[in-house]
């Protein structure tokens, strides 16, 4: 666990320089095109995620560098697959280990809302009950192109983001 709270770089949090339009554009551009993804592949959707990283639907094109070595080096968490109640504390812990600013894509219907297993006794109905999600990609499983679309939507969201606002309002983590 970290010794101090999110100290997200002198530039973005401490100084008002991040409010100047061109600087904000530059910072958002950097965050947008350099998403290191920590694949949290739980079930069948992870196969589609891996397919999206292979040659035909290469998501490195969009700047999403795949297979960050661990949560500490990642910005983007793609939850692909069914989240069971036993796995829920684990995903919370890994999400907490990721340094801010971080984003989450919920990939597939199991992680969106429990999916086809919504009536099961052991499935968490949607990963957004545990961690805050930025983009939901529907499908069972979604095609790799759907993941590319989801990533582009996330990049558009980051482009229009005010990072100081994001940390002031405390919307980065579920309490």
């Amino acid at each position: 666990m970290a010794q101090r709270g999110p100290d997200v770089g002198v530039i973005t949090e401490k100084t008002p320089i991040a409010k100047i339009k061109p600087v904000r554009f530059l910072l958002n551009w950097g965050r947008r095109y350099s998403l290191w993804v920590f694949n949290f592949g739980l079930a069948c959707c992870s196969i589609e995620f891996i397919a999206a990283s292979t040659a035909k639907n290469d998501f490195i094109r969009l700047g999403v560098i795949p297979f960050a070595h661990g949560p500490r080096q990642a910005d983007l968490l793609v939850v692909a697959g069914t989240l069971t109640d036993k796995m829920a504390p684990v995903i919370k812990r890994l999400y907490d280990q990721m340094p801010d600013p971080k984003y989450v894509i919920s990939f597939g219907s199991c992680s969106n809302c429990g999916g086809p297993y919504w009536d099961s006794y052991s499935v968490t109905k949607g990963v957004d009950q545990i961690i805050p999600v930025d983009v939901f990609v529907p499908g069972c499983p979604p095609r790799p192109e759907a993941l590319l679309h989801g990533i582009i939507r996330l990049q558009e969201k980051i482009r229009d983001e005010d990072i100081q606002e994001k940390f002031r309002s405390g919307t980065t983590a579920v309490s």
């Binding site: 666990m1 970290a2 010794q3 101090r4 999110p6 100290d7 997200v8 770089g9 530039i11 973005t12 530059l26 910072l27 551009w29 950097g30 965050r31 947008r32 095109y33 350099s34 292979t54 040659a55 035909k56 290469d58 490195i60 094109r61 969009l62 700047g63 560098i65 297979f67 070595h69 661990g70 500490r72 080096q73 910005d75 280990q97 340094p99 801010d100 600013p101 990072i163």
Partner: protein, 335 residues
């Protein structure tokens, strides 16, 4: 030519201004060339794997991908684990990065384009590139993480093992050229590049393999492979410190390629008949060609296991390097 001082000294007289200019030039080279090599790695790996690589960051084929990475890493939260040793933890990236920057001081990029002509150039370069081991050990120990410690110890064992063949074949080159100064070694190859001697060709291959192992690049990346040990010594690093480790990896590739081109490929010496192209373009061309080969190795070979790695160094490369020194000395004395 030998005897001419570097361009920085002749441009402005005195001591302090050329010093600042040299330092600035070294820093600029170290910050720009590894980024180019990093971008080249993305694209080379991509095209070797029949895909495209970064295309969006920067309007033309994603040339600014690593710049975006840098901008993002500045904004990341700096996480120091609660059980970690904060001083050592924060210092480790510097200890890994700065020796590579300093090594560039002694390398001649052109006939008069160098910072310092050290009499003990080869010795200095090899010594500085070994200091990084301490940084890895610091990172692994201070992280308070079992996997980091194992990764750091593996890295230390590997780097020590591959230091021997590296130094031995460099000694063979020093014998061939008769001097340890990198500038003199380059000048001694003005008619005949070192690699054209058959035993030096073997030495070149040994040097490249040992250099790749020194950098813990695939196929020698057991200490940092994520399917083995998450990220080894660097597991707990985030943000700018992690970016420094990445920069030191690519910087190391540049430095090792530069040293190999100076020792074996004639540095800034042109191919006969093509001396119209200036020396520093030849040097950068050779650096990028060798970096391409190092990246090509990553795309091609599976990882060596730790024991295979150690056996390869101690039973394979080191005796071969010793034999090489023997052959070189016979050549120098006899011929």
């Amino acid at each position: 030519m030998i005897g001419d001082s570097s361009v920085f000294d002749t441009l402005v007289g005195g001591y302090w201004i050329p010093l600042v200019m040299k330092a600035a030039a070294v820093l600029v080279v170290f910050l720009v060339v590894p980024l180019a090599v990093g971008y080249m790695e993305h694209k080379v790996l991509a095209h070797m794997q029949a895909r495209l690589g970064p295309m969006e960051a920067g309007a033309f084929h994603g040339w600014a991908q690593l710049v975006a990475d840098g901008v993002k890493f500045i904004q990341k939260e700096d996480v120091v684990p609660a059980a970690a040793d904060p001083g050592v933890f924060s210092l480790a990236p510097a200890v890994v990065l700065i020796p590579y920057i300093v090594t560039l001081v002694a390398i001649p990029f052109g006939p008069r384009l160098y910072a310092l002509d050290l009499d003990v150039g080869v010795f200095f370069v090899l010594a500085m590139s070994s200091v990084g081991v301490i940084g890895i050990l610091m990172a692994g120990w201070a992280s308070a993480n079992k996997f980091s410690l194992i990764g750091a110890l593996r890295a230390a064992a590997q780097l020590i093992a591959y230091e021997l063949p590296l130094v031995l074949v460099a000694a063979a080159v020093v014998m061939q050229a008769g001097s340890m100064s990198l500038l003199q070694i380059t000048e001694a190859q003005s008619h005949y590049w070192n690699i054209l001697y058959p035993w030096q060709l073997v030495g070149f291959v040994i040097f490249m393999m040992a250099a790749v192992a020194e950098l813990t690049r695939p196929p020698f990346d057991m200490p940092i492979a994520d399917s083995e040990i998450i990220f080894g010594a660097y597991t707990e690093y985030t943000g700018l410190k992690f970016a420094f480790f990445l920069l030191s990896e690519y910087g190391g590739i540049v430095v090792m390629s530069a040293v190999a081109s100076v020792l074996y490929l004639g540095g800034y010496q042109p191919l006969p008949g093509l001396s119209i192209i200036p020396g520093f373009l030849w040097m950068f061309g050779k650096i990028f060609a060798l970096s391409f080969v190092i990246i090509w190795l990553r795309a091609t070979f599976p990882r060596l296991r730790e024991d295979q790695l150690q056996r390869f160094a101690w039973v394979g490369l080191t005796p071969l390097a010793l034999a090489l020194i023997l052959v070189t000395s016979v050549y120098k004395v006899g011929v």
